[in-house]
């Protein structure tokens, strides 16, 4: 019994790999004499012999492994056996198919003749010795040019013979097998596309081969042998059977390795091949319109050197275009899932896919072209209505898109990613036949598919809610596309900066004009000046507006991928959730859209992962099975408000509080508002605590999220209702290039506060300020706000000692104005209320000066780390004003307050 298994496994190996290789080489040999249109008779005979060899072996191997019968020679018997047995049927046809398809790429001119010869040869019984002899004869008489190839082949042939003789003796060693493979591998010429094989793959095969052989050395049951054979020959078909095998041991792993190295399209190739064994060479082409031959899918170089690819400009264009196309594909495929029969969607998908394939091919990115080609085939079938996309198909498509994205990233980075393309190609080809491989793609998790399918509704609102509006918008989009021009972002940035300077200049002109007007109103030139400056100002405003609009892109660009993320997480976690997107047309500065994406992903993931409960839990809690996450963006003045809202389980305030006390972020006796408690998760250090506990997982990296938002001059706020869900609000300025600021003054120093952080500015009576212990607070709109004195927090009192030259010359008039103002304000305090949500506080300042547009600049390398200062800006009068970082200011304020308490 054990012997049988050994024999069969050895034979299977031989029949499966070695001989098709041999066959390929022979086919190649036959092709070589290019001068003669008709292949040498001798070589055709050789080919046929090799084929026969294969069929004998396979006939031999299968019955031996499956039933322990006498090896059956001859084609008919083999086919009979195949008919009876499921396994061998597949296997046999797979092998037949493999042999045939090896021949196909050889592109012999006289294909029919060859096929006929082959069929003939198949019917003629022959044995190994005969084949070897034929080969030897053929080679000795053959072209001397082919010598190295021929010799290697001869060697391979002979070792094959030895190997085939060896199994009965129960002694096929690893070394032999390896030598065989090596012999076959070595003479491969790059010309032979079919015989091409990378080193890595060869190694993987060898490894895969060694293990079962070694295993076969020990006593083994038939079942085991079968399992192994199955694993080796048809991993796809075998995977369910594998689980039945008594000893799974390493076989399963081996099977996976094999799958990776050689792929497992045998199953379908086999079944179709079994039906049409008479026309093997044309079979593949007729079966589906893939010109690639799945059996011989091997890893190819991702890049081929080519003139286009070496032109950086062209390459850049390709990368940009590809990224756009990928975005479109992602979006449209999601739409397709919602609307499988939507003609327009599939048409646009098809177009995009075709464009990318063509471009990839032109640049020589073979891997991209290859994967895309198979996806295009799928899309084509969908377009023709032969294939109706279901969630399985969409999964495969997304896997394909993921692989493509990796490949395109590799293109962008200029070095190959090394990602295998064979598994995905295979999955895609299988999908054409309506079969799906689980776990064969690197993108798919190897675990079992979730029993409950998540219904992630892409709220590409257009498709989902109101169709009419959607179409209208797509139509509009198209028009825009036609009349756009691609501009280098660097140039645009330079322009924006320049316009920023001009805005400052305008302010200066206005100041000069005001001076002239007030000091010498009688001058005629003053009137002209006033007029000119006003005109200049108006034009400047227009330019500013336009230039800002140029940089604006709809935030939907960043939102689109979230639908995909929610869908994927849903499928992974067996959760049902919908993402509802609103306000995707809201426009935002391009850099902001790019940089807001990461924090948003984090927040959305949190909502999916920790916010939304499992469907059962939700039902038990009396909620809808499917959770709702809504992502919305809207413009409010010069700000963009982005909210992420889920109807999940909410945040556990008590646990957060406990953790914060443990971490020393707050003290035991501190009383915090609910929101303040929630916002504790943004504290650095809180996140590390979160990782070890599992209260809800929120807080992992939340400090990073807040940092990123505040880097964008934005503010984040979080609120939650236990059992009802969590809402995160992000407030961002429309643009970073030019920002609206409120100029304030404290102890003679002027500072700018980004208007995006300002809630309101108020003038209060000193007696409205109440003291709670050390802290000053005011009540405003029914809310208690802590007050901070700017000069106190910033230590402005130290100015006179640390700065000797900065005292500004006080002209008489200025001091008069100051005195007047002072007298007028008397017992009034100016308070600028900043922050967002409940996390607001008031900054007490001496004066509110004005509101201005300014360009924030860095203070240079010598002073890059000044606490509470975000940067500087040049005012109209040429003076520098510091722009406050409200977030840092607040942190400083609170930590000072805390250290005071301590």
């Amino acid at each position: 019994m054990g012997m049988d298994a050994q024999i069969s496994s050895a034979f299977a190996t031989l029949a499966k790999k070695s001989l098709p290789e041999l066959h390929a080489k022979l086919a190649q040999l036959a092709k070589k004499p290019a001068s003669s249109r008709n292949p040498d008779d001798q070589l055709i005979a050789l080919l046929a012999a090799a084929r026969e060899h294969i069929s004998i072996l396979e006939g031999w191997a299968n019955p031996a492994s499956l039933q322990g019968e006498e090896p059956t020679l001859g084609d008919d018997a083999s086919l009979d056996a195949s008919a009876n047995l499921d396994m061998s049927d597949e296997e046999a046809s797979a092998l037949l198919q493999s042999a045939d398809s090896t021949a196909a790429p050889a592109e012999l001119d006289d294909q029919d003749a060859e096929a006929a010869a082959m069929l003939e040869a198949m019917n003629a019984p022959a044995d190994l010795g005969q084949v070897a002899a034929t080969v030897r004869n053929a080679l000795t008489e053959g072209d001397p040019e082919n010598d190295p190839d021929a010799l290697a082949m001869l060697a391979a042939m002979e070792s094959a013979q030895v190997a085939s003789a060896a199994p009965p003796a129960g002694d096929i060693s690893d070394a032999e097998a390896r030598a065989m493979l090596a012999a076959m591998d070595a003479p491969l010429t790059p010309k032979a596309a079919s015989g091409e094989m990378s080193d890595a793959e060869a190694r993987a095969m060898l490894e895969a081969m060694d293990a079962p052989l070694a295993a076969a050395g020990s006593d083994m049951s038939d079942a085991e042998a079968r399992a192994m054979l199955a694993a080796m020959d048809a991993p796809v078909a075998a995977s369910p059977k594998l689980t039945v095998a008594a000893a799974p041991m390493s076989a399963e792993e081996e099977a996976l390795a094999l799958l990776a190295s050689m792929g497992g399209a045998e199953e379908d190739e086999g079944s179709s091949a079994a039906a049409t064994p008479e026309q093997p060479p044309t079979h593949d082409a007729s079966d589906h319109d893939s010109d690639g031959d799945s059996e011989h899918l091997e890893e190819i170089d991702e890049f081929a050197k080519n003139d286009f690819a070496s032109d950086p400009d062209m390459l850049n264009d390709f990368v940009t275009n590809a990224a756009e196309i990928m975005e479109t594909l992602d979006e449209k495929v999601l739409q397709l899932e919602q609307n499988p029969r939507d003609k327009e969607t599939i048409e646009s998908i098809f177009r995009a896919a075709h464009t990318l394939k063509g471009a990839g091919g032109m640049f020589g990115f073979k891997a991209v072209e290859r994967v895309m080609h198979r996806m295009e085939n799928l899309f084509d079938l969908v377009r023709k209505g032969t294939l109706i996309p279901d969630s399985n198909l969409i999964d495969v498509l997304f896997q394909g898109l993921d692989v493509l994205r990796t490949l395109l990233d590799a293109v962008k980075n200029g070095r190959p990613s090394g990602i295998p393309t064979v598994p995905i190609c295979r999955s895609l080809e299988l999908a054409i036949k309506g079969r799906y491989v689980k776990g064969s793609s690197p993108a798919a998790a190897p675990k079992a598919p979730p029993p409950v399918r998540a219904v992630a509704a892409p709220a590409s609102t257009a498709a989902a809610s109101h169709d009419g509006g959607g179409e209208e918008r797509t139509a509009k989009k198209k028009n825009v596309e036609q009349s756009t021009i691609r501009v280098d972002l660097e140039r645009l940035d330079a322009l924006v900066n320049l316009v920023g300077e001009l805005v400052i200049d305008r302010t200066r002109f206005a100041t000069i004009e005001e001076d002239i007007r007030t000091t010498s109103p009688q001058l005629k030139v003053a009137g002209n000046m006033t007029e000119t400056v006003q005109l200049f100002g108006r034009h400047m405003n227009e330019i500013h507006e336009i230039i800002m609009k140029i940089r604006m892109v709809p935030i939907g660009n960043a939102f689109n991928k979230f639908t995909r993320i929610v869908r994927d997480i849903g499928r992974q976690l067996d959760k049902e959730m919908e993402l509802y997107i609103e306000g995707e047309a809201t426009e935002l500065d391009k850099t902001l859209v790019e940089q807001i994406s990461d924090p948003l992903i984090h927040l959305i993931r949190n909502s999916c992962d920790h916010g939304i409960e499992l469907p059962q839990v939700r039902e038990a809690a009396g909620k809808k099975r499917s959770g709702l996450i809504s992502l919305s963006a809207r413009q409010e003045g010069n700000n963009i408000i982005i909210t992420i809202q889920d109807d999940g389980k909410g945040l556990p305030a008590d646990i957060i509080r406990r953790k914060a006390i443990e971490k020393g972020l707050i003290t035991d006796d501190m009383i915090l508002s609910k929101r303040d408690t929630f916002n504790l998760i943004f504290e650095p250090g809180f996140s590390t605590a979160e990782k070890v506990t599992n209260i809800s997982g929120r807080g992992v990296g939340m400090d990073v999220v807040r940092k990123q938002i505040s880097k964008l001059k934005g503010i984040i706020d979080l609120d939650s209702e236990p059992g009802k869900g969590t809402t995160t609000t992000i407030r961002l300025p429309l643009t970073l290039a030019i920002m609206q600021s409120l100029l304030i003054e404290s102890q003679g120093e002027v500072f700018a506060v980004p208007l995006s952080t300002v809630v309101e500015s108020v003038r209060i009576k000193p007696n409205e300020v109440q003291f709670v212990g050390d802290a000053e607070v005011i009540k405003r709109h029914d809310k208690v706000l802590p007050l901070m004195h700017l000069h106190d927090t910033l230590d402005l009192g130290r100015k006179s000692q640390s700065s000797w030259y900065s005292a500004k010359p006080q002209t008489e008039e200025m001091s008069r104005v100051a005195a007047m103002r002072l007298a007028r304000r008397k017992d009034r305090l100016y308070v600028v209320i900043v922050g967002s949500g409940d996390r607001r506080f008031g900054i007490v300042v001496d004066q509110l000066l004005s509101q201005q547009e300014m360009v924030i600049k860095s203070l240079g390398p010598v002073m890059k780390k000044i606490p509470s200062v975000a940067g500087g800006a040049v005012l109209g009068n040429g003076e520098v004003v510091l722009v406050l970082d409200i977030q840092e200011l607040e942190d400083r304020f609170r930590s000072r307050a805390r250290s005071k308490v301590a």
């Binding site: 640390s802 000797w804 900065s806 240079g860 002073m863 005071k900």
Partner: protein, 193 residues
């Protein structure tokens, strides 16, 4: 820090960047003697005169309005606007250990550029440009700390007068180093509150 790698001492001792001075007439006979000289700018800080390698000087401007930056290094007086670029202005008086004095009409800001960093130095006045032969420069660090001697990279001994030559590498390192320490002292200040 980048300026630690190379001391600016090379600037006034090395052969590079110096000017050739011509002795004798250009037409021919005595043109044999070429000596490399390096040019320096003379500046007043407090009551003393110092030299600064001219190669490190980008431009010299009148004192513009200076904006105080809270919590910055004590040697940074504030920031100035140089045609749209914001630059720190170093208080050289304080650095060299002088008392606070009146802001004179001669006060200038020297815009220096060293190892890619542009910054301003507030000085009390500019005197003249001198050319020094390598033999007239003595590379020597002076003893003493906190009195400004640590920023002197060499001495000029041309004629009877000895002048300190400022070493920008040390000046910048001190300011940046102070900046780094600032965070530490911040904590200390807070505790004192």
């Amino acid at each position: 820090m980048s300026w630690e790698e190379g001391s600016s001492a090379g600037m006034f001792t090395g052969a590079k960047g110096g000017l050739f001075s011509v002795h004798g007439d250009l037409d021919g006979e005595k043109v044999s003697e070429f000596q490399e000289r390096e040019q320096f700018i003379g500046l007043c800080i407090g009551t003393e005169e110092f030299l600064l390698p001219i190669a490190a000087v980008h431009e010299i401007i009148m004192l513009p309005p200076i904006t105080y930056v809270p919590n910055s290094s004590e040697f940074i007086d504030g920031v100035i606007n140089l045609r749209g670029t914001i630059l720190p202005a170093l208080n050289m008086r304080k650095m060299m250990g002088f008392e606070r004095g009146e802001k004179t009409a001669n006060a200038r800001i020297i815009i220096g550029r060293f190892q890619g960093i542009t910054f301003g130095m507030i000085v009390d006045g500019i005197t003249y440009v001198v050319s020094l032969l390598p033999t007239e420069i003595e590379v020597q660090s002076l003893p003493g700390k906190g009195t400004g001697a640590e920023f002197i990279g060499g001495l000029s001994k041309q004629g009877a007068k000895i002048c300190g030559i400022l070493d920008l590498a040390r000046v910048l390192k001190h300011v940046a180093g102070n900046l780094d320490n600032e965070d530490v002292t911040e904590g200390g200040v807070e505790e004192l509150d």
